[in-house]
């Protein structure tokens, strides 16, 4: 009996896992149906059967450093065909949720995000900041709902009685939007950096037994570029995840949401460049008045006319976002809870993006029709929602945006998955 492996179960960990969405894991009897029916699972040490037994045994070290949880794109085929209703798909989702909490520092943010009360507390941070700004500005203008007319120069607004709803008038971007969101963005980046360091350290520490390709391994940079090109921009893994019509719709909806975000990100980048580089640096600091500088500055000038290319792009992005969200929400609502559960983490992300999309579109419409009592509160909510998404990104389910890309890239460097072109 000298070869016996002594299992040291971490029972607390098992309970934690059950709490974050893996409650059915003990029903598993290791038949391995899940590993076979998974359309993505590789031949050597396929998932999720081994994760199920690790979870039952409480092998925390293996699970938290398991790269396979990031290869899974959660189509739910394993759970559909699971003979015991053990929901292996939910277990992997639960492990990812756990990773969002534990990879980045300040894990309490992730904990708060897993219930409604906690989310309200998190929402208080931007709400209080912008409410305070609003109150101070209201005192300054003598009204909480001021209207404006253009003043001298870019982004200068004069309060007038018969003016227009101008968000930049009430919340001047230079002082209240860009610095606060810049800080939130920087905070998020630092946390992500630390989270990625921890993720890679864990992945490197786990035993590398999964070389499947036999091909020469790419470096991290080559793997990263390859991942962006295939898995991200083309959704090459996601498209293969699941075989029925619903799965195809899910991948398409996700693609729409992702491209919408990319478009909106580019739009934001153009506006920021136009404003800070064009209007502030070229025109204000350098004192340039040439047509090029004027053009750059114009790109950063808000609100833009509806025929502006940038504005058209932003509106197209908004429509794509709402369309994709509808697909994803419909699918999640239609899930059979006996097969695939949805926890607060899943809903939170959908709700926050819905909030951003609806308040964003709402703010634009109310501004255009110039209803100040609806426009400003909607814009305020939009600011809160965007702050929620951005500042708390590493702890939310959207953290997969960074962690999954890193994990997929790393998986290529160790041969766990092939390079995109070799598939």
């Amino acid at each position: 009996m000298s070869n016996n492996v002594r299992v040291q179960p971490d029972l607390k960990f098992v309970k934690e896992l059950q709490a974050v969405g893996g409650e059915s894991l003990k029903k598993c009897y290791q038949c391995a149906t899940c590993s076979v029916v998974c359309p993505l699972s590789p031949a050597d040490s396929p998932y999720p059967r081994k994760e199920m037994v690790w979870a039952q045994w409480g092998l925390k070290d293996r699970l938290v450093n398991d790269i396979d949880i990031w290869l899974c794109h959660n189509c739910g085929t394993c759970s559909d065909l699971c003979p015991r209703g053990a929901k292996p798909g939910d277990l992997l989702a639960a492990l990812r949720n756990m990773a969002y909490r534990q990879l980045a520092p300040l894990g309490f943010i992730g904990k708060l995000m897993s219930n409604f009360g906690g989310v309200l507390m998190l929402a208080l941070v931007p709400a209080v900041i912008y409410l305070a700004i609003w109150v101070a500005q209201a005192a300054h203008f003598g009204t909480a709902f001021p209207l404006f007319a253009p003043g001298e120069g870019h982004g200068v607004w004069e309060p007038v009685a018969n003016g227009k709803v101008i968000y930049g008038g009430l919340f001047p971007g230079d002082y209240f939007i860009d610095p606060i969101f810049g800080a939130a963005f920087a905070f998020m980046l630092v946390c992500f950096y630390l989270g990625v360091q921890k993720l890679l350290k864990g992945l490197k520490a786990s035993p590398a037994v999964y070389d499947l390709t036999g091909a020469e391994k790419p470096g991290m940079l080559a793997a990263f570029i390859d991942t962006i090109k295939h898995e991200v921009l083309q959704h090459s893994q996601f498209n293969d995840c699941g075989e029925d019509e619903e799965d195809k719709k899910r991948a398409f909806g996700h693609k729409m949401v992702m491209y919408a975000f990319i478009i909106l990100m580019v739009v934001t980048g153009v506006v920021a460049t136009g404003h800070w580089f064009g209007a502030w640096f070229l025109e204000h600091v350098m004192g340039l008045k040439d047509p090029f500088s004027k053009f750059i500055a114009l790109l950063g000038s808000t609100p833009m006319p509806l025929h502006s290319v940038v504005k058209v792009a932003a509106n197209v992005g908004a429509v794509m976002l709402i369309y994709g969200l509808m697909q994803l929400t419909k699918r999640r609502q239609g899930l059979d809870p006996k097969k695939q559960g949805s926890n607060f983490y899943d809903w939170y992300l959908l709700y926050v993006i819905w909030a951003i999309a609806l308040t964003g579109v709402g703010a634009e419409i109310f501004r255009l029709v110039n209803i100040k009592y609806l426009a400003y509160p909607t814009y305020f909510l939009h600011l809160v929602a965007v702050f929620m998404l951005l500042a708390y990104l590493p702890w939310s389910k959207l953290g997969h945006l960074v962690y999954r890309i890193v994990a997929l890239s790393y998986a290529k460097t160790i041969g766990r998955i092939p390079m995109g072109a070799a598939k």
Partner: protein, 415 residues
């Protein structure tokens, strides 16, 4: 006044046993059987547990006992329409389908020779054909042919009738509906193999060389479609690589949410059938847990002592076929953690037992579980026996039949 006769529904091993036990202590017994023959699922096997007897062995004795006992009355091709009344006094309506061949039949087989129409045989699970006039198997009891009147036209019917030298063909037979007054009911309606068409990821019954365990039993039985030679269905070739897929639709909440008790043993028995015919064939049994209850552990020990047999822990979750109609199974070996596609000449799905009455309500309002097993009713004089109650082997079915006879007697005596 209370009636001390007993109705046994189902003429399989449990039903026959219950009927004989009761009749031999003096009760009048009626056996109602939906098939044209008695013996149930056992009659379709090559060998049955625990002693690997051919079915004729055990059933022959039972049929002799039935023949010799005037207290046992048998109605084949008959079903219960309704049961009313109370324990000690049930009124049962029976509907018997027409057989079109009467008791003058000597089983000479001239009618089958005269028949030109052939259809897929239910007894062979579609693996073989039967004529429009047929007897399911050589030792069928009662020894009497059946005419499938709907399968043939008027001129063929005429030919068949003319061919019979005993005036046994009765084309006017219209069956009958009749009432029986009994004191208690033994419900022994048994099981049916789980429908392969539900197992979509295992080919859904559409792959030529993927058969169910009961089909395999027919392929191996000397009175089966291949006269006992195990050949793969598509091209009648001798299989060299055979896989068994355990728990095909069993212990699965999407199919049968329970273990059928005997399928692991059936597959090990099938390994022996194969080994007798093909000493060099390589055989793989894919299982979740190899369940060998009680004394069967010894059978397993003897069977698995075989260098060309591999037992692999891992449930097959996908079967497709290649261009040569070889089944290709995908499975993860849960011990090594390797997922692979394996090609075989033939695959046997160890499907489980589903209660024959699954999805229906049994008479007398007897309670059933969600799978269709009868789980009570004894107090109402409605006693379930055999696989209508739970999945069992033949030995335990017989025991269950004896127990049911005892309860049935207790219901009718002492009132």
């Amino acid at each position: 006044m209370s009636n001390n006769s007993i109705l046994v529904v189902g003429g399989g091993f449990a039903g026959i046993t219950a009927a004989l036990e009761a009749a031999e202590v003096g009760h009048e017994v009626y056996i109602i059987e939906t098939n044209p023959y008695l013996g149930g699922r056992v009659a379709q096997l090559k060998h049955y547990f625990p002693k690997m007897c051919p079915p004729s062995c055990g059933l022959e004795i039972q049929f002799q006992r039935i023949k010799k006992n005037p207290k046992v009355k048998v109605y084949t091709m008959a079903e219960v329409e309704s049961v009313s009344g109370t324990p000690g006094n049930f009124d049962v309506k029976i509907r018997q389908r027409p057989r079109y061949i009467n008791e003058k039949c000597t089983a000479c087989g001239d009618c089958a020779k005269a028949a030109s129409t052939s259809v897929k045989s239910e007894f062979e699970f579609g693996m073989g054909k039967r004529k429009a006039a047929y007897i399911t198997h050589p030792f069928a009891f009662p020894q009497r042919y059946v005419l499938d009147k709907d399968a043939c036209d008027a001129s063929e019917l005429e030919q068949i009738k003319t061919a019979c030298s005993y005036d046994a063909i009765d084309l006017e037979d219209s069956g009958k509906v009749f009432d029986l007054n009994v004191g208690s009911v033994v419900w022994a309606t048994g099981w049916k193999p789980y429908d392969l068409s539900n197992l979509e990821n295992l080919g859904g019954g559409q792959l030529a060389n993927v058969v169910s365990n009961m089909q395999f039993e027919r392929l191996a039985a000397p009175n089966g479609p291949t006269a006992g030679k195990i050949l793969r269905p598509s091209d009648k070739a001798e299989p060299k690589r055979i896989a068994f897929v355990q728990c095909a639709g069993s212990r699965d909440q999407n199919h049968l949410n329970y273990c059928s008790y005997i399928c692991c043993m059936a597959s090990l028995k099938h390994v022996r059938y194969l080994r007798e015919q093909y000493p060099d064939a390589s055989i793989t049994v894919y299982y979740i847990d190899l369940r060998t209850p009680g004394r069967y552990e010894k059978f397993k020990a003897l069977t698995v002592n075989d260098p060309k047999l591999s037992l692999v822990k891992g449930k097959v979750a996908e079967i497709v076929e290649d261009s040569a109609k070889n089944p290709v199974v995908t499975v993860e070996n849960a011990v090594t953690g390797i997922k692979s596609d394996e090609q075989f000449d033939m695959v046997v799905l160890a499907t489980g037992m589903q209660p024959s009455v699954a999805g229906q309500q049994v008479p007398a309002g007897a309670p059933m579980d969600e799978e269709g097993f009868v789980v009570g009713g004894d107090e109402q004089g409605f006693i379930a026996a055999g696989c209508a109650k739970q999945p069992l082997d033949v030995m335990k079915s017989a025991q269950s039949g004896t127990g049911a006879a005892m309860k049935a007697i207790q219901t009718v005596v002492g009132r």
